[in-house]
Amino acid sequence: MKTFNLPDLGEGLAESEIVKWHISVGDMVKLDQVVLTVETAKATVDVPAPYGGRIVSRHGEEGDVINIGALLLEIDETGAEQTASEQKQTADAATVVGNVSQHAHSVNVDDFWIGGEHNPSPDNLITALPSARLLAKKLGVDLDLVKGSGPDGLIVDADIYDEAGKQRPGTEVLKGARRTMVSTMAESHHNVAAVTITEEAVLEGWKQGEDISIRLVQAIVHACQEEPAMNAWFDAETMTRCVHSTVNIGIAVDSRHGLYVPVLRHADEYEPQEVRRWLDQTVQGIRERKIGREQLQHATITLSNFGAIAGIYATPVVTPPQVAIVGAGRIIEKVVIRDGQAVAVKAMPLSITFDHRACTGGEAARFTKVLAEHLRKPSV
């Protein structure tokens, strides 16, 4: 059995008046046979039966005003079943004016406050730059505890940095040399094809109290002159290499402010005692933070004498555009076999890192050999 509701008659009207029924309960009707006449506000309309069959019940009497969607007829079908897709099409049918739904929503749309007076400003109102919010999230800073320094208490990035140290003791924002180290080392690590070669220089002929720094500077100058490929600048982007004839040695100096690498320019022209004087002055300058930017530039090769503190071997990091760095470890005493006899000797461990994009293994090995041999020489 199927039901037939009053359809939308195409004018967007909600209701119609029943003018005349053309059938009675028990009648057999055919598809599209006129079953009743209704009057809308605009016109009188004959309504056809949507299905054939026997009328089971009839709802509404002549003169009644009924709503669209109200039950009109129940029809017991004797003919073919309407297919599901036909039903869908009926439900989907477009009308010229539109089909304004009668279906009531269960939501309550008429429970409202005029404006939003119930929203007083919260006591803990936070205004913060979006970047400051992001920063606080990264640093684990609780915004509720931050006092904003911007206009009207706006929290800016600087407030978050300040607060980070308070909320997480030990946290600091990197500055100066320590900050520079981050990018220089990261760039090097990312780009350089680093290979480290190690060697020991046996120091049999050294006097007591030999100045290690002077000997290292001299040895590097000599090695660079013998194997200039390691005393060079390299740029992969332009595929260029500049092999230097002068030797500018960047010397790594540790300080509590971070790593500094002042440059001993024209190291090849220095007398030994001048090297010492330059070193002492420079270290003093770094401690007093009086070293100028120009003193940190134009190194052609770097020396790291980390062994002065501790460490035997290392893998030093080349600073582009340089192609090599010499690391000197702590001088060790060891036993070697010489002419079948065990002999105690002093030896300096050397770790030389080079950029294999710019130097061959042979060049690095020859450089290392010359370096170690020069260090082995007795004191003058």
Binding site: V97, G98, Q102, H103, V107, V109, D110, I114, G116, P130
Partner: protein, 327 residues
């Protein structure tokens, strides 16, 4: 007290104001004998006569021009366009005269007219019966634009619109003309034309919407509440002037803005809301604002209508992203 539908509340407001102010005139196509294509003006002609309830020819330019003339000469006409899509022939009168009358005459004449039009899609009608072009009028200086979304607000806002001394575009969401019902107090009290209405409190998201989308927004808010996200639902109602004070006050609490409107996205009223938030409330935000809107296409014919219309699920998804992506 009986419950009224939204369209019945519009009718009630018209009855109330015609009874209390003899200067109120209703005019439009089929508004008299027929009672209006959606029954908004039913009973008015029988009660107030053909001099105050005027059936016009099918000529919207005429409706616009006559209304401007009546309004500037002391009447308070309420003109009906059968659909918002039929307003275009009258734009010359609306935009170039009604909206500018006060300015052009240096305050000597005002234009206290109301232009009513049902708007919005989702009723299986063609595209020129389905559009949402509130932004077009919001961009034109001189109009107030009001969109009610409940019976009580339709009543109170229409009274306010009729009493306004400047022209009001009054757009009625016809999809929910008869699907929302509530008790309406016929006390003649107007609602303010410059404020929004808060429909639901919430601490996590400020959802601003208007028109028929209020229904899906409230449904989504209930669904989200069951998932632990509390949405504050604000019915903008007055598109212009725009009550950003209430919205920013809510953002102070939630820090997250979601705008839902049926009109297409580009240069929609949602764009203006986001722009003002960026200008004045950026530092309250915990997440970039989001919009759930209609598409930048012509309203599709009925078979594809549901793809265009905003569904509750669309709002739920956007709201969850606003919270979960920006904890």
């Amino acid at each position: 007290m009986t419950e009224l539908t939204l369209v019945e509340a519009v009718n009630l407001a018209l009855h109330h104001e015609m009874e209390h102010d003899p200067n109120v005139i209703v005019l439009g196509e089929d508004v008299g004998d027929n009672g209006g294509v959606f029954r908004a003006t039913v009973g008015l002609k029988q009660k107030y006569g053909l001099k105050r309830v005027i059936d016009t020819p099918l000529a919207e330019a005429l409706i616009g021009g006559v209304t401007v003339g009546m309004a500037t000469q002391g009447l308070r006409p309420v003109a009906e366009f059968q659909f918002q899509g039929f307003v275009f022939p009258a734009l010359e009168h609306l935009m170039c005269h009604a909206a500018r009358m006060r300015n052009r005459t240096r305050g000597r004449l005002t234009c206290p007219a109301v232009f009513r039009a049902p708007f919005g899609g989702g009723i299986h009608a063609p595209e020129h019966h389905s559009e949402s072009v509130e932004a077009l009028f919001a961009h034109t200086a001189g109009f107030k634009i009001v969109i009610p979304s409940s019976p009580q607000r339709a009543y109170g806002l229409l009274l306010a619109a009729i009493r306004s001394n400047d022209p009001v575009m009054f757009f009625e969401p016809k999809r929910i003309y008869r699907t929302v019902k509530s008790e309406v107090v016929d006390n003649g009290e107007a609602l303010p034309l410059d404020t929004c209405f808060t429909l639901r409190k919430g601490r996590d998201i400020t959802l601003v919407t208007w028109g028929a989308c209020v229904v899906e927004s409230l449904q989504a808010a209930q669904t989200l509440s069951n998932q632990g996200i509390e949405v504050e639902v604000i019915d903008l109602a007055s598109i212009k002037p725009m009550d950003t004070t209430t919205i920013f006050r809510s953002l102070e609490k939630t820090g997250r803005l979601l705008v839902v409107h049926e009109a297409s996205k580009t240069c929609g009223v949602g764009s203006e809301l986001l722009a003002r938030t960026a200008e004045h409330a950026m530092c309250l935000l915990k997440a970039p604002p989001k919009r759930v809107t209609g598409m930048d296409t012509i309203m599709p014919y009925y078979r594809n209508e549901d793809y265009y219309m905003i569904q509750e699920e669309d709002i739920v998804i956007a709201a969850r992203e606003l919270v979960e992506d920006w904890k």
